[in-house]
Amino acid sequence: MHNNKYLKENPNQPLLAYHFIQALTRINLAAHTTSTKQRSHIIKHAAYVSMAFAAGNKRTWTHAVLHNRFPIKTRFHRLSGSRRSFIVSLSRNKETLHQAHLLRSLVPGGHAMEFSSLLMETANYIQYLTAQVRLMQCIVEKFDMHV
């Protein structure tokens, strides 16, 4: 069943590291021309792009990241997907609807997804976010040792 593929995937850590470190190398080459704050934004952008590349093309959230630059700035789309596709048992609960709406703002492309897709994409997005955070922590640790 197609759903199971979403549930079983583990983040591709080597690919994530590869993309991100490549980006860091490029960023570092231009380090003398950027302020610390500018560079921080560029690094953050590179982090989300690396996540999206590593996670691959089959996810809605990766498309949203790669086309909208920063996931946080995703525009609110009034698409029918987010309104029509409620599971009956959950839709009676206003609190659930409200939380689902909040979640849609946090997951890139969230407003365009059906509810079940939102759950799957969220799980995948969280897996890649945590992998990215671990990667960055690891790099910071190593950098720290050399400073």
Binding site: S40, K44, L90, Q99, L119, T122, I139
Partner: protein, 86 residues
């Protein structure tokens, strides 16, 4: 992007909700997802994602600061070697 109108069963939804539940830190194990816990789970998921976003911000700041002070070539070679080894 699926536009097919396939019937997603409640069971599949519950399965997805459990999966999400297991990804959250300090997740308490429960045997089923009731409506009440679905809302709670979504709320915890939102908090968790927000905290991860904040961590990415913070780590980006730190990396940027470290880059400004670093002797790069040797450090980078070491980092790459270590990360690719694991």
């Amino acid at each position: 992007m699926s536009s097919r109108r396939s019937r997603i069963t409640e069971e599949e939804i519950n399965e997805l909700i459990s999966k999400l539940h297991s990804l959250l830190p300090e997740s308490r194990r429960r045997s089923g997802a009731s409506r009440a816990s679905a809302a709670k789970l979504l709320k915890e998921t939102c908090s968790y994602i927000k905290s991860l976003h904040r961590e990415v911000d913070d780590l980006s700041d730190r990396l940027s600061g470290l880059m400004a002070t670093l002797d790069t070539n040797s450090a980078q070679a070491d980092i790459i070697r270590e990360l690719l080894r694991s």
